[in-house]
Amino acid sequence: MNLNFKGGMLRAHPSFYKYLLTMKLTVVLIIATLLHVSAKTFSQHITLREKNTSIKKVLVEIEKQSGYHFLYDNLDLPKSEKINIDVNNVSVEEALNQCLKNQSIDYKIFEQTIVLRKANDVREVKVAKISGTVRDDDGQPLPGVTVKIKGTTQGTQTDINGNYSLESADENAILVFSFVGYQTQEIVFDGKNPINVKLTPEVRSLADVVVVGYGSVKKKDLTGSVAVVNIENAKKTATYDVAKMLQGQVAGVSVQGSGEPGGYVQIKIRGIATFGNNSPLFVIDGVPVDAPFDFSTDDIETIQVLKDASAAAIYGSRAATGVVIITTKKGTAGPLKINANSYYGFQNMPKRIDVTDRIGYQKITSAAELNAGLSIAPGNNPASPQYISNVNTDWQKEMFRTGKIQDHNLNFSGGSETVTYNVGLGYFDQTSTLSGPASYNRYTYNGTFQGKKGRFSFGGKTAYTQSHKDNLAITSSHAVFGGGVTSMLTAIPTIPVYDPNRLGGYGGSDNVTQRAIALNVIGMNNLVQDYSNRNRMFGNVWGELEIVKNLKYKVNLSFDRTDYKNWHYEPKFDLGFYYLNTQYYLSDNRGDAHTALVENTLTYNLEFGESKLDLLAGTTYQEDHSESITGTATDANDLQFYTFGAISNPTAKGITSYLDASTLSSYLGRLNYNYDSRYLLTVSYRRDGSSRFSPQHRYGDFASVAGAWNVDKETFIHLPQVISSLKVRGGYGVLGNQNFANYKYESYINSNASYLYGNTLAPGATAVAVADPSLKWETTKTGNVAVDMGLLRDRLLFTAEYFNKVSSDIITDIPIPLSVGAVPATLTTNAASVKNTGVEVSLTYKHREGNFQYDITANANTLKNKVLQLGGTNNPIYGAGSKTEVGGEVGQLFGFITDGIFQNAADIAKHATQTGAAPGDQKFKDINGDGVITDADRVYLGSAIPKIYYGLNFNASFKNFDASFFIQGNAGSYIDNGVYEALTGGQYSNHSVDELNYWTPTNTNTDIPRPIIGDPNGNNRFSNRFVESGSYLKLQNAQIGYTFPKKVLQRSHVFSNLRIYLAGQNILTLSGYRGYDPDFISDGLFSRGFDYGSFPNPRTIMMGLQVGL
């Protein structure tokens, strides 16, 4: 081996430099103590035939054939001299004699090392013994640390007590200590033993490799906008869904979730880029997958979020909404390692909404009836024999309960030098905080392997998931006004939870006694059964062949199949007025969806001078198929066997099925140019063909270009010492989106538009919907500029980015006039254009002071959304209390402005005409001044998009204790509080306690209008009365943990690592919002600010255990 020390080392270690100068010969002899090295066998037989070759080349060949290592100084080898050698099956000595004849060079053979030196050198070969102990920064011994003599392959590992020893011929050898997860340290041996070393845990640095599409790149060499998620922080969120883990962790990613077990999580990257699904593309281990919630979060090793066009363009057609790249755990060579992660927690509703009790309810509803000129409902009338005075149900109290959440994962990994494996097994289970069967459980298996043989590398993965979700059951045959949560709140207190006199055993409202339609949600949830099962199988294999040096061909095949079942059963029941079920109902929907993917890529890496060029070219082909079949039965007879075969009445049964297929065929290419890590350029291109468009509009071309400049590498720029790294980068590119339903560019015949003559069905067929044949790709153009800065030797890393993203030709269902007669009254077309701009800032800071260390990871971003075009005549799109129009933002709140309460007839007379108004009614502002209150008097009432989103993680540890917390929130958003609107209608359903202060001729100093059945004035129409600030700051989680000292664990001879922790989630919310939770699920689009009563996020207290064997 060549001990040709570079200048960098010389500067760093002057004593060593001195040594080199004084010594003519630099020979290092290693007496290896490594078992695996000494176990090698050496070929004693050399066959060589070289003519006119340098000595060095011959030595290299001997080294290769014999397995010995050579130690020599370049100075000792005659540089220009060429020799001839011709040996056949001779010993090493013989070969060396041949090679070195006529040279004044001696050699000496040690165990596996041959030392060469000038023949006239008289010095002895000295051998020094070096030994010591390696500990972690808590002082615990670290076993398995690799200790090497720098510049050689010789080395050893620390034993179980952290001790090592090795021998060196060089008194001033440099020892290199390296261990996964710790910073590598170099120490110069000064001749004195022991050399004790303390290793510091690694700080995530710019040298980290970031996985991007079809490859990876050093963070330092990135040109695009790629956020690397701090996975330790993200994993502190107890969830089944990787999307929820990202909440608050990455600038530019907004996540909203509900507390429903297994419920849907809404995720958007850099705003709304389409009017369809704004979820990003998830790529797990190189394969794009839908529904990433099927996979255990514990298996995840890294998450990268590709935000701009440059980073994501390689996924062209599906990248407009961003790409989340996930890699799962891989095995490393070595003995089997077993890790277990578990937590178990309890969940509760953190908040209650104050609604009226029996007395309050009866007071308000009676007033509403009297105001409408109706008699008081008997149940509310003390004068009536049916007056209800003994029932006072607190529905929240009855409904809320303690839910459980648990997650258990086992991980096995290991392997040999050629093949490694990792197997993860997981079980997740969550039960509801609301009464009823709602729950979610999931079993997961994830196995990966990878290996290498010669020029061929390969790998693969299999994953299997089985999940079961019991849904909050809502009957299919009755409207549930406002959904289950709102129904719970609006349920009246004068119906009991249980009533043995009603079919099913649950209480209900009577249309004579109470006159209210009120759903007993507890009864509904328990009577109606509704569940969804998912069985998912995922398989992937890849192989890569290095055809010639640096030219690699890779083929990647994957298959992803989900079988699902959605099952719904309703018995006959009587839940009172309206909620009366006289028929059994059974619906059984089953189907499967599968995706097959073939990817072929060629990569070529080229280096010339300071330049590095990485080229990628490839093709991908994807097929998606799905099919489903649904059987339904409605019968007066009990469907107790839950099977269709057991239903004798043939006319009680119905069946439908659906088939679906789509294909996507793509070419892709990328060029990365790197000049000395100073100047970086990335150019990407992708051409996609999609079956979702007509042949004329099938192909889309997507390209991007981005550059970066590592300013700190520049010699002519001298940055202040405090700045350890500085990079500026920028890019521009075009992305596409085709994430919507198949077959939309053609109009079809519906053959179920039947009628009947007499009692005989007469099949009817007609086109019911309209279609746009020129449907084409959505495109998103993104510009991104950013500065990455490292301060204090990269202890503080800071990134600021600005992006401008214009999405055009957005495919949306634009409302068309009802007079077209189309069902639905919409046209799916490339209509809209939307611009998103924003600034994203993120920073991480790490500090260490003795045994105390802490780190902070924080991010914040702004987002501005502007609609540039809506298509057709640019008619606005109205959502729930919102309007989306050109020049405004998507889903901006829109409604009337209240102007106090009408106090008397004169007040009404002088106000703009407001149909149905009477004293006590809500007054609305005549915005357009036409003297009459109409829908034209509605105005914008606030943005549903926060002005700023932020998240902050803090982790600290002291000796064996650690603590962390995570704060997340937003500021500047507004919510249409649909729940509050439902509670202040002044009708038969239950009321907010605020409603008690309603206007009467004697209670005039109030802003609560009079209740009146029928609401002729439209008091409850959407107005600023229901608009509330959506700003919030949440302590999303906090954790304290204790890691058992290694010393203690070693005594067990079982554990290598053991940590226990106590954590809380959704611990505290600072918000003025009157609803359950400002973090709620909405449609995320045109009604994005509308809280209809989403399942509130529970508060969780949990215990966790992390064990390594």
């Binding site: 045959s477 249309n511 004579v512 055809i547 061909y553 079920n581 028929q583 073939v598 890529t601 060629l602 490839g618 093709t619 082909y621 339904t632 409605t634 007066a636 119905g654 439908t656 659906y658 088939l659 789509s662 065929s665 999609s690 042949p695 198949n742 077959y743 519906n750 538009a753 039947s754 009628y755 009947l756 003559y757 007499g758 069905l761 007469a762 009817g764 067929a765 007609t766 086109a767 919907a769 409302p815 068309i816 006039p817 009802l818 007079s819 077209v820 007669g821 189309a822 069902v823 077309t829 057709g872 005549t873 606005p876 109205y878 149909t915 149905g916 829908d935 038969y988 029928g1014 609401d1015």
Partner: protein, 523 residues
């Protein structure tokens, strides 16, 4: 070595580019439905397309539920105390534009039907098929389009009048027409239908032979007459009514009740009837949207209008309607038999759904003294229907009865100054109810007296059949302070009537999405 590498390169190239380039894979044909461009080729396509045009008669917005509710509740003979504002506010003239539930669905349903008619009228003429069958198909499509337009113009006034399927997106925006143009379109469509339609389908040659419920010449003439009557074109209207009478195929059924039950559908009195059945189709309720194979073809009227404890009781007759029946006794001194077919009320021995009225409501004095809908309910067919709560009623909705033609004809004669000639046609209807000869009890009425008499006769004959509000509206009662006061005493819901509210609001989505569309006044 080198040849080895070349082999690799060739292999890679084949692998890489062999899998792509098969663009045929990008042609994915919808396996679920036929592409519209391949339809309208055969006579069976034509028949299926026409059946679909009928199909829009039986969804929520049309006769499955909301059209009867919108027609009935506004009359002084009907009221709503529904907890659902979409129903509650109909009779109080208090519907708003913020919530288009109900009336908006009706608006959409009629245009859905028109769109289906337009597809037939655009495509069927070029299909090579039996000329007579083609005429019948086109005639029915004209009739149905006229019927849908009739409802639109009658309810909403100034509406769009699309008469062709859109061929490009610019065709989506049909301008708002005047009410007069709307009525003219209705007249044109019914007029176009008359010569193309047969008097009966019995004996026609084709797949429609003998099918009950298809539009006939008589239906088109009766509706043309009704439209002309609504436009006070009495002379022309009377010609149509007389022509219907002269067809000689219609007669009043002896039992009045046979017009409102499932057992005597498509009888000799029925001129046009919307078909419902519990036997045809699937078990899901076909409210609307894209139809599916599991849709049933039942009405939800019965549960909506049903007496308390047997349905939702969203719609009830007024007590004044009950009293109207008590005004005149039958020739044998009894109560008008039509009352018992129309209203459930607490009379001795009254039964509903197999139970005694007095017992069912014994504990609720309010209900005991209340009146409930009986017409179009299933409460009298025996033990198989203990209530309406399964939502599914198979009773056909009789849109045009021969009795209506007789009374409308009588009204035309009266308006044309031939009051005396009106008597016999009125008496034909009274006779079935065993009422004495009007010529004897009220001889020599003036034109004005006869108008009031017709108002009384029509209320009794057609209570809960959706005619009353149309009648009082075309008679000008809403503008007549005396009559309006009378209406308020009969039905307090009229207290919140205000001029202009005889029209429903145009659904906000039409205003929002069809440029230039104006809302009806007062909304």
């Amino acid at each position: 070595m080198k040849t080895f590498n070349i082999k690799y390169v060739v292999f890679v190239a084949v692998m890489a580019f062999g899998t792509v380039g098969c663009n045929k894979q990008l042609n994915q044909v919808n396996p679920n439905q036929q592409t519209a461009s391949t339809f309208w080729q055969t006579s069976s396509d034509a028949i299926a397309g026409l059946n679909a045009a009928y199909g829009s008669l039986i969804i929520d917005g049309s006769y499955m539920r909301f059209t009867p509710a919108m027609l009935d509740i506004r009359g002084d003979d009907v009221r709503s105390n529904s907890p659902w504002t979409a129903l509650y506010n109909i009779g109080r003239f208090a519907l708003g534009t913020a919530d288009g539930s109900g009336y908006g669905w009706a608006f959409g349903a009629y245009y859905e039907g028109i769109s289906r008619c337009n597809q037939v009228l655009d495509h069927v003429p070029s299909i090579e098929m039996d000329a007579n069958l083609k005429n019948r198909i086109l005639g029915q499509a004209y009739f149905l389009r006229g019927l849908y337009f009739f409802h639109l113009v009658n309810f909403f006034g100034r509406v769009a009048l699309p008469v062709h399927s859109p061929t490009s997106q610019s065709d989506f925006f049909v301008r708002q027409s005047s009410e007069a143009d709307g009525w003219q379109q209705v007249i044109n469509d019914f007029s176009a239908a008359i010569p193309l339609l047969p008097v009966t389908y019995v004996g026609v040659s084709g797949p429609d032979n003998g099918q009950l419920g298809r539009a006939t010449k008589g239906a088109a003439m009766a509706y043309l007459g009704k439209t002309l009557l609504f436009n006070k074109r009495f002379q022309e209207a009377s010609v149509q009514f007389k022509a219907v009478i002269n067809l000689g195929v219609y007669s009043l059924v002896p039992n009045y009740r046979d017009n409102f039950t499932e057992s005597n559908e498509n009888n000799s009195e029925s001129i046009f009837e919307v078909q419902f059945s519990r036997d045809a189709g699937g078990t899901d309720l076909g409210w609307g949207g894209a139809p599916t194979s599991t849709w049933g073809r039942t009405s939800a009227r019965a549960i909506t209008f049903a007496p308390r404890s047997f349905g939702w009781t969203d719609v009830q007759p007024t007590v004044s309607a009950l009293n109207e029946f008590m005004i005149e006794k039958t020739t044998t001194g009894g109560t008008d038999p039509r009352l018992d077919a129309t209203i459930y009320y607490n009379k001795p021995g009254e039964m509903l759904y197999g139970q005694y009225f007095a017992q069912v409501y014994a504990n609720n004095p309010a209900d005991l003294n209340d009146v409930f809908c009986r017409k179009y309910e299933n409460g009298d067919i025996g033990s198989s229907r203990p209530n309406e709560f399964d939502w599914r009623s198979g009773i056909n909705e009789r849109l045009m009865r021969y009795a209506d033609v007789l009374l409308m004809y009588a009204e035309c004669l009266n308006e044309l100054g031939q009051t005396a000639q009106a008597y016999p046609y009125i008496q034909m209807v009274r006779l079935r109810a065993s009422l004495p000869d009007l010529a004897t009890t009220k001889p020599g009425m003036t034109q004005a007296q006869m108008r009031d008499q017709l108002a009384h006769e029509r209320l009794l004959e057609f209570c809960l059949e959706g005619h009353r509000f149309d009648d009082i509206r075309r008679w000008g009662w809403l503008q007549d302070p005396v009559k309006l006061a009378l209406l308020k005493t009969r039905d307090p819901e009229f207290n919140t009537y205000q001029p202009g509210r005889e029209y429903f609001p145009i659904p906000q989505s039409e205003i929002d999405n069809n440029p230039g569309f104006a809302q009806n006044p007062t909304y």
